[in-house]
Amino acid sequence: MENGLWEVLGSKGLLKKHEFIRILVQCLYSLGFKNSASCLEIESNISYKSADYEFLEKQVLSGDWDSCVAVLDRIFDHSKDDTRNTAVYLVFKQCLLEYLKRGDVSLALNVLRKQAPMLRMGKEKIHRLACDIVYSNEMESGEVDSCLVQGLRKKLLVELEKLIPLPIVIPERRLEHLVETAVMDQIDTCLYHNSWDAVSLYKDHCCGRDQIPSETVQILMAHKNEVWFVQFSNSGKYLATASSDCTAIIWKVLDDNKVELKHTLESHQNPVSFVSWSPDDTKLLTCGNAEVLKLWDVDTGVLRHTFGNNNTGFTVSSCAWFPDSTRLVCGSSDPERGIVMWDTDGNEIKAWRGTRIPKVVDLAVTPDGESMITVFSDKEIRILNLETKVERVISEEQPITSLSISGDGKFFIVNLSCQEIHLWDLAGEWKQPLKFSGHRQSKYVIRSCFGGLDSSFIASGSEDSQVYIWNLKNAKPLEVLSGHSMTVNCVSWNPKNPRMLASASDDQTIRIWGPGKPNKPENWLYNQKP
């Protein structure tokens, strides 16, 4: 056995055999295979529980509190550190509560006043014990439920286990933790990881291209001019597109992920460059740089309200919803109009106007409705906490063309005309953004989005007619998707389907991208006729 202590396992010689076996035994016990566990203990002569811990366990379960304290002192090597004091305090607490349960108040107080101070666990802990006995519900005299007492003693052991140093006690579920850590490390280095289904213990984890949208599965051709904007609804069941043909279209996403036209929204006199879904997906807002804001009913496709009108020239460049789906906010490229919060009937609730409000390029509201992020012409980002009125300003060095917020509301990205995408944290803990590059952007408004499992990816349009995908861990593109023949203006990742992406292009089409398949049938592309 002595030699066994130094035996190692694994090709790197990092795993001590006796530790490995001890952890295996623990795992077998925790999975309920008690016979197998004790069999392995006997066969290997390696016990899961150390002698000190076994002794402590015996004393706790039999209620021999003096011996418990003695063994704790031995375990903690007679040091009076706070962990030891906490362990002793827990033992005394159990002891006092048991006396109270038996109705033995004077004995409990005697222990509290005479024995506890002798153990030098500190005044604070002794005072805490006094409070514990007042707060406890124990204080009956007579028969004590032994099952209940045993249950409490077992709970005490669990608490003590957390305090006792290694290697006397092994942390709970150690093998599970080690395996999980190994798997998570593999996932962290897997740039294509986009589904929990792909994880198996039988092989080292590595996802392929088929985990992310990388092949065109459908081309939508209902618009008669350049398509400037695309966005999936919050439920992922609809898609909205906006075009310079002065229309917006609501598309339905079917169960097989095919997309079909639901409503063409015709009322705008000028190009539509922006849409926004209400959080409950029942309403859609549309607007454009030279256009007013319109509210549509998703189910019927009926125009419900026009905010302002063309005569007053209240043009809206971007808009966003609050979580309640009854309030919205819109920003104008006209500084005199500024930013306005409305209800869905068109009543103005609040406005931010004046010299401090320059031209609004883009805006968003966090999913919790607490903050509003606004991009002002043309390099400034302002994050306003709507409750506290505290505002944080981020100044970029290059003009910003668009803004997108992550699903959890913790991060946002901005596209810059210098061919970079910058990722910022909303909390303001980062001094510098994460930067992503590789796409082309110099003349036009190009939009990007978060997507995939846990928003692990960013996708963006590009002036070179391609769609770019990055993993957040890497500044260089993971995938470049070809298919469009002109500038890709906007992309949207389906929030409920991590393998579905839509892109809108000047070539008048919207492409739906899905996971790459090994053998594509001839009729793979599905044309949606206008």
């Binding site: 006043r113 006094a130 409070c131 007042v134 204080m139």
Partner: protein, 213 residues
Amino acid sequence: MDPRQFEHTVVADNDIHSIVMSYLLHNCFNETADSLASSTGVKQPAIDRDNMERRKQIIHFILERKALKAFELTEQLAQDLLEKNKDLQFDLLCLHFVELICAGNCTEALKFGKTRLAPFGKVKKYVEKLEDVMALLAYEDPEKSPMFHLLSSEYRQQVADNLNRTILEHTNHPSYTPMERIIQQVTVVRQYLTEENGKDAFPPFSLKDSLKG
């Protein structure tokens, strides 16, 4: 401050008598108040004698280590007063808990702590003081505990004063006497003058020194 600066200011005896009278009645020194009235002829303000007697009893109970009796009498005098003033209710219950411990009646103290004090532990502002009070259980001789101040007559007096003021307020009487207000005002004014004009012109005000004459 040089008395010559204010000794020409006339203060009527009657005003001084009224100030002293209100102080005596406020603090339930009713016999002294009667004596002052008969020897100076100062009129006693219309005050509920029964209310004053009860207040006197309540203060007496608190100072004589009978906090629970004070509690009960307060509830009789002003039914919902302690229910509305949780801070006072808490202070009185703490005093009773302390009394039980000092009397060596720990089993009773424990029961009382569980039923009447423990619920206050759910309110953040009471937690620290509650833990101090409960910690007395850990000492055979509470006088030698770090929380000995909870046993002091000063602490009891403070609780009695607070309760007295609250009862007065509850029965639509001023909670501070004119005498207290005048002293408070003088202190603040002198403090202000010292800050504005320097310590040489106006040395810091000391009530003790001015009482020496």
